[in-house]
């Protein structure tokens, strides 16, 4: 089929060829020049004032913003050179476009910050202007590039070890970038860095590397997974005993584990659950009530392993109860029913204080003073030193949560790739046809609720100990909406998507104060915008993408080819 397509596609391509011969080399020169200027700007001084954005005043000793400019510059040079000899699976033009807009945004943001903090553009030194010129040149180069057709069949096959080393290098870069980013305290620098990271990422992914990396990932699933967990495992060792970032990291992991559970319900089974936080709450309350806390309302103090299992069990029973209406209702109505259950859970936890009904939860005060976990003498509250690097309380929980999320991912992916997963897809596609083909629709829907709920319940039992207290106001509707947003933003039905979504939603507000005040506002807006322009999320599952764009023929074709390639 490819040979046919090529002959058919020849005629329109020839016009592109002419355009390329006229503009291609010019664009390449512009891009390389722009990139070089950005690199140069990194070596120059950006500001007279040495208190702004770190210290940018010294020449030939790049720091902060200057390094970022150099990184963008290098990417620009590479993409520019690629324009001259374009492999058929790459379109450097697309990358340059993202890089162009992004770098202009970055330099302008940096200049505005300098002007704002130091008092006027007069404080900008030659480096800033050189950088702006470089960014504009890259943007100009991008606008000269005609769009190319990507030929996804021509991805080069490398030897196994080469592909694996690419993965390792990429993940190492990821680890380094994350650690570096998290250690920046200056809000303006952090903002600029985020722009740079996003720019470079979009530029590289957009130009076709993304597809190729995905292809390599498909070929080496196991090494990729192992390496990813290794990187995640090594993360605490980059923090030098500081618990500030580890606290955020543990929150992200709990949030992500719960969101992954929700993704089973929403992404795989296609059922909208607006009360999902109640399952996390169930686990947390089970954990708290059976803990050693003096305020625990139940006298029984079983070992934590038993508590975890009980948390899963109780949550999955609630899941079954909440899932039962799926027998009769679906769609919007089901969503509202789950919302109702979620609110009832919160209100019940709030009310069961002994005055209104039995005393289970201490009402609005919740259950405080939950002690840290101890496993076989390993105290999660204490600092342990490994290889000379101190690992604090949150690092301990981080390792435990890493195990949890590995388990959740395992459950998610294996269920997805099984008879049950196929049943879920069939239900999403056409419920009546699925039933007429012998798929146990109701049973599978219940299963989704039960499995998802038990995973959230498991996460909850750990969360109770990590937070040291459990109160009803942690489990409001907004938190459910937040979880849903992580799933929607990241991508329904994918693991990577939810991890990305959860990280963005939890990390941003923690790192930038401005964002923190406005996080809900931004979050609401984000949901609306995502549904309007990219309902399938940042990292979509191919099938979900097709479901949201029923009439997009190009996408169908692309999905088809990629599906074939992956086999």
């Amino acid at each position: 089929m490819t040979s046919l397509e090529k002959t058919a596609g020849e005629a329109p391509v020839s016009r592109h060829d002419r355009m390329r011969s006229r503009f291609g080399s010019r664009a390449a020169v512009l891009a390389v020049a722009g990139g070089a200027l950005l690199v140069l700007s990194g070596l120059l001084s950006w500001s007279y004032d040495d208190r702004v954005l770190g210290d940018l005043s010294i020449r030939f000793y790049p720091a902060g913003i200057q390094i970022y400019a150099m990184v963008i510059g290098v990417v620009g040079v590479v993409l520019g050179l690629l324009l001259l000899r374009r492999p058929p699976w790459l379109d450097p033009g697309r990358g340059l476009r993202a890089l162009g807009y992004g770098s202009v945004a970055f330099v302008v943001a940096a200049l505005v910050s300098i002007a704002y903090q130091a008092g006027g553009l007069i404080n900008v030194n030659e480096g800033g202007w050189v950088g702006l010129l470089g960014a504009l040149l890259i943007l100009g180069a991008a606008l000269l590039c005609p769009p190319e057709h990507l030929d996804v069949h021509s991805w080069p096959r490398l030897a196994g070890w080469q592909e694996i080393s690419i993965i390792v290098v990429l993940l190492a870069v990821l680890l380094f970038t994350t650690a570096y980013t998290l250690n920046i305290d200056d809000a303006a620098t952090f903002g600029c860095l985020l722009v740079v990271i996003l720019t470079v990422a979009i530029a590289l992914l957009g130009s076709g590397f993304g597809g190729y990396v995905g292809f390599i990932g498909q070929n080496n699933r196991r090494p990729l997974l192992l390496a990813a967990f290794l990187v995640a495992f090594l993360f605490p060792f980059t923090q030098d005993g500081s618990d500030a970032n580890m606290s955020i990291a543990t929150q992200i992991l709990i949030f992500a584990a719960t969101a992954l559970g929700l993704n089973i319900v929403v992404g795989l089974a296609g059922l909208l659950d607006l009360g999902y936080i109640a399952f996390l709450g169930t686990g947390a309350y089970v954990g708290a009530m059976l803990s050693q806390s003096a305020f625990a309302t139940v006298g029984w103090k079983p070992p934590f392993v038993v508590v975890m299992l009980l948390g899963m069990l109780v949550a999955s029973i609630f899941g079954l109860i909440i899932g039962t209406p799926t027998l009769r209702v679906s769609g919007d109505y089901l969503a509202i029913v789950t919302l109702g259950f979620g609110e009832i859970f919160r209100l019940a936890m709030f009310n069961l204080d002994g005055n209104n009904g039995p005393d289970l939860t201490n009402g609005p005060n919740g259950i405080p003073a939950i002690p840290d976990l101890t496993f076989f003498g390993f105290d999660f509250g204490a600092t342990h030193t490994v290889a000379g690097i101190p690992l604090g309380r949150f690092s301990n929980y981080y390792f435990l949560l890493l195990l949890l999320i590995a388990f959740v991912i395992l459950v998610f992916t294996r269920l997805n790739d099984s008879r049950i997963g196929r049943g879920w897809v069939a239900i999403r596609e056409d419920e009546r046809a699925a039933e007429a083909m012998g798929v146990n629709v109701f049973g599978l829907k219940l299963l989704a609720f039960a499995v998802g709920a038990s995973l959230a319940g498991l996460a909850g039992t750990i969360k109770a100990h990590q937070d040291t207290s459990v109160t009803p106001d942690q489990y409001i509707f907004l938190e459910s909406a937040f979880l849903l947003a992580a799933v929607v933003l990241g991508g329904m039905g994918t693991v990577a998507g939810v991890l990305v979504g959860a990280t963005i939603l939890k990390l941003l507000p923690e790192k930038a104060r401005v964002v923190n005040d406005y996080r809900l506002l931004i979050f609401g807006l984000l949901l609306v915008i995502m549904m309007r322009f990219r309902p399938e999320g940042i990292v979509p599952s191919k099938r979900r993408q097709l479901e949201f764009h029923e009439d997009d023929e190009d996408l169908v074709e692309l999905a088809q080819t990629e599906h074939l390639e992956a086999k």
Binding site: I420, R422, G423, A426, E435, M437, G438, V439, E547, V556
Partner: protein, 273 residues
Amino acid sequence: MTVTEPAAPAAEAARRVVLEAAGVTMRFGGLTAVDDVSMQVREGEIVGLIGPNGAGKTTFFNCLTGMYIPTEGRVTLGGETLPPKPLKVVRAGMARTFQNIRLFANMTSLENVMVGRYCRTSSMALTSILRGPKFRREEAATRERAQELLDYVGLADSAEILARNLPYGDQRRLEIARALATDPQILLLDEPTAGMNPKETEETMHLIFKIRDSGMAVVVIEHDMRFIFNLCDRVLCLVRGTVLIEGSPGEVQSDHRVIEAYIGGDDDEEEDA
């Protein structure tokens, strides 16, 4: 009996009755859509169901597949009364296709057929997560059987193509493959050649013969008279909810009442289901 293809008509009585409808009556409020219809379908037999618009074909069909529970009379599959749930009907050995194709559009052909195997496999959540040898064996067997069925209906090379990207005729055949994957005793086809060109119709006919010859019972609803009369061993003509005539294609074809029913009796009552 004038049968276009040899259908082993020798010992009809010896063959087992798979599906039996006895005195099926279906009323919606005051309207009697199906009135005292009886029908027997035996192993290795193709029975056609024809009738003008509004004759109650689809309602009767829905009674057969367990979507409706008849007001009077009963439907039995292999001697057992049909359970009232579609799910259990499939398990009992009845599979169907849809008048307007209802494939899982964003799944590949192979996956579509694998979904059909759902009710004949048993791995549940825990086995799927643990991935023991039983799970692997069952997955492999499911995949293999699905591929076999694709070969059987002539879609061997389309296994990895998304159902939505298949040509129309192939989609119809994929629906049949998916239905066969449920290991039915009887296959109900709702207008299997609607919208097909003559060549595709011809191919479908041969496919149905092949299925019949494997010993399965087949019931076909169709508007295309030529197709029905060439295909079926027996034809049932419904008019206004009652059986007008039942017999070999030759008998039905030459009966003047059938022609009248089609030409003159174009009722204005519309049937929807």
